[in-house]
């Protein structure tokens, strides 16, 4: 499999006095033709990594390569289309902006205009083509940012939160388009997002990073197998109170939603044990079901112990518990 993007011990430290290592020895490989989800908590270093791959900032250490070319060189940049987290525009129309960007990349004027029109049409922005892009809404800016990344027909798309400002229909639309770009045009896509249930529908690979380095890299299929659920969720009228009793069936804890999450060795035996437990008490049992391993669950699972998220969640859980105890 050909590698489209590869980072090797990529490191970025900001600041001369107060040094902050945003990306720390990050190594990852992105295969050609894949849609690769790039996820991690706020401040994990996703945008910083992306900016090193696109050549906007230079690594303090390590390297990034695009189809074997050093990141930042023209040969590397020519193969990348980059849609930033917060795109900014000149005071000019959306159409002129796209034409200008095409021309920078060496596209002839007539061809540039044609591409601009096609892209605006494709994204449904034709009605706004002559409006000043600075006056665009956040969602429209995001869409225009995505369009300019396609203007030189690159092999790789690097999309930093491409749906962050979009309404639900817009998000669905853009994600479908991203999927199409990969499927129909064979583009390699690296996409970062916090909306994991949506991301899950388009990516076939993921890299999870935290505090600047890779925590997990895998294709979705093996990932789901690996995290295949031997866990059940039990919802009761008073979860903290039932936690103790259910713990006898297997290691159990309160999950972030306040429900009981229990590890189960033998599902059949577990089911009958639950039925027995609530036999005379059915109104207190809300329900129980196997834990579905969504990308979001995996994310929580992988980072639950490592990120600062956990502390907050534990706090919520324990206050909930106190309330319930009273």
């Amino acid at each position: 499999m050909e590698i489209a993007i590869e980072t090797t011990e990529l490191t970025k430290t900001f600041g001369l006095v107060k040094r902050l290592t945003a990306v720390n020895n990050l190594s990852m490989k992105i295969e050609k033709g894949t849609v690769h989800g790039f996820i991690g908590p706020n401040g994990a270093g996703k945008t910083t990594t992306i900016k090193m791959i696109t050549g906007a900032i230079s690594p303090t250490n390590g390297s990034a390569q695009v189809f074997g070319e050093e990141a930042g060189k023209n040969e590397a940049k020519a193969r990348i289309g980059y849609s930033p987290e917060h795109p900014n525009f000149y005071s000019q129309s959306a159409f002129d902006f796209l034409v200008y960007n095409a021309r920078i990349c060496g596209v002839e004027p007539s061809e540039a205009k044609e591409r601009a029109n096609n892209l605006l049409d494709w994204m449904g922005l034709t009605d706004f083509k002559n409006r000043n892009a600075r006056g665009f809404s956040a969602g429209m800016k995001q869409k225009l940012g995505l369009l300019q990344s396609l203007i030189h027909d690159p092999d790789v798309l690097i999309l930093d939160e491409p749906t962050a400002n979009l309404d639900p229909i817009g998000r669905f639309d853009v994600l479908t388009k991203i999927k199409d770009l990969a499927k129909k045009e064979g583009k390699t896509i690296l996409v970062s997002s916090h909306i994991l249930d949506e991301l899950e529908k388009v990516v076939d690979h993921v890299t999870i990073i935290n505090k600047g380095h890779t925590v997990l890299q895998s294709d979705i299929h093996s990932l789901k197998n690996k995290f295949a659920s031997n866990k059940y969720i039990v919802e009761t009228a008073n979860n903290p109170a039932y936690l103790k009793r259910i713990s006898k069936l297997g290691p159990a804890k309160l999950n972030p939603d306040g429900n009981i999450e229990v590890e189960v060795k033998n599902p059949e035996r577990f089911k009958s044990a639950i039925f027995t437990m609530f036999k005379n008490d059915t109104k207190n049992l809300g329900g129980f079901y196997p834990l579905k391993m969504s990308l979001e669950n995996i994310f929580m699972n992988v980072l639950g112990d490592k990120s600062d998220l956990k502390n907050n969640e534990q706090k919520t859980v324990s206050t909930l518990g106190e309330k319930n105890d009273k």
Partner: protein
């Protein structure tokens, strides 16, 4: 090496109607005011037409040195160059630009070339506009007007050096700054120092013997004057002693005697030509005014190539 699209956009941005209008007014108002005052005061009301043209041309040369091709063009250059990089950084448009398949050196050079071409056009147009204002206020006849027009190329050459000098300072700072204002301020301060502050301190420091050395080297106003007068002389211009005196006051290039201003020049006293002060030969001034901007531009380029854009 030059990206045509970036060059064209930068060039167009420099020729927005608003920029042209604001600059024209900025340039013209002091000229109109000065010429009106001179007219009211019968400043140039001398006996012969030849002498009047001589005076008018001389004063125009002073105005060209200080204002038209001096302060005005240097401020415009600083304004243009500060916007080259710093404005894109503060507007955050630079991120998309540097991630496009075009080298940063090429971005910088395309923009700098657009500045150069624009400032040549602005310089030429400024001179024509100024000559036009001058000629209309003093109602010059065609023959006298041609005296002015024929010397425009020499004023123009001087203008280019001024533009390059102050432009490159702003461009260099612009390459490492995120603020357009911060990129202009050093140039503005230097403009004030070069064209005004040194008028005050040159004579005093020369009398005290403190001028040579650091002060003299910092005195780019002298270098500009040195170059200016040499260029005009090469263009066949000969200033009468009175004009040498006025020019000397502004440029520090002539040895202006203290009692000089007291001489009643309207009575036809013919004074000997003033002595040219050679702190540096014009060639050295020329080299200084080419090498300094060159180094600054190169530094700006290097900084921009290495700079993190986030």
């Amino acid at each position: 090496m030059i990206n045509k699209a970036i060059f064209e956009k930068t060039f167009k941005d420099f020729f927005r109607l608003k920029t042209i209008l604001v600059y024209s007014v900025f340039l013209a108002v002091p000229l109109v005011i000065f010429s009106q005052i001179a007219l009211e005061a019968n400043f140039f009301n001398v006996t012969s037409l030849d002498l009047m043209v001589e005076y008018l041309f001389g004063f125009f040369s002073v105005l060209s040195y200080v204002w038209v091709s001096g302060v005005a063009i240097s401020l415009l250059s600083a304004y243009f160059c500060s916007s080259m990089i710093a404005e894109e950084v503060s507007d955050r448009t630079i991120l998309l630009l540097v991630t496009k398949p075009v080298s940063r050196a090429s971005i910088f050079m395309s923009k700098f070339l657009a500045f150069l071409v624009s400032i040549l056009i602005y310089s030429a147009l400024s001179l024509f506009l100024s000559v036009y204002i001058w000629a209309s206020v003093f109602e010059l006849d065609l023959a006298s007007l041609m005296v002015f027009v024929s010397k425009i190329p020499y004023f123009f050459i001087y203008s280019v050096f001024v533009a390059l000098f102050f432009g490159s300072i702003s461009a260099a700072i612009s390459a490492l700054s995120s603020s357009k204002l911060k990129s202009i301020i050093p140039s503005v301060l230097l403009v004030i120092v070069a064209f005004f502050v040194f008028i005050q301190i040159r004579d005093v420091s020369r009398d005290m013997g403190a001028y040579e050395g650091v002060l003299s080297f910092t005195d780019v106003g002298y270098d500009f004057g040195n170059l200016y007068i040499s260029i005009l002389e090469a263009g066949g211009v000969r200033f009468i002693p009175l004009m040498q005196g006025v020019l000397g006051t502004f440029t520090g290039v002539y040895d202006v005697p203290d009692e000089f201003v007291d001489v009643d020049y309207d009575h036809g006293i013919i004074k000997p030509s003033l002595e040219r002060l050679k702190y540096r030969s014009p060639v050295v001034s020329l080299i200084k005014l080419i090498v300094l901007p060159g180094i600054l531009t190169l530094l700006g380029l290097l900084v921009f190539v290495k700079r993190d854009i986030s």
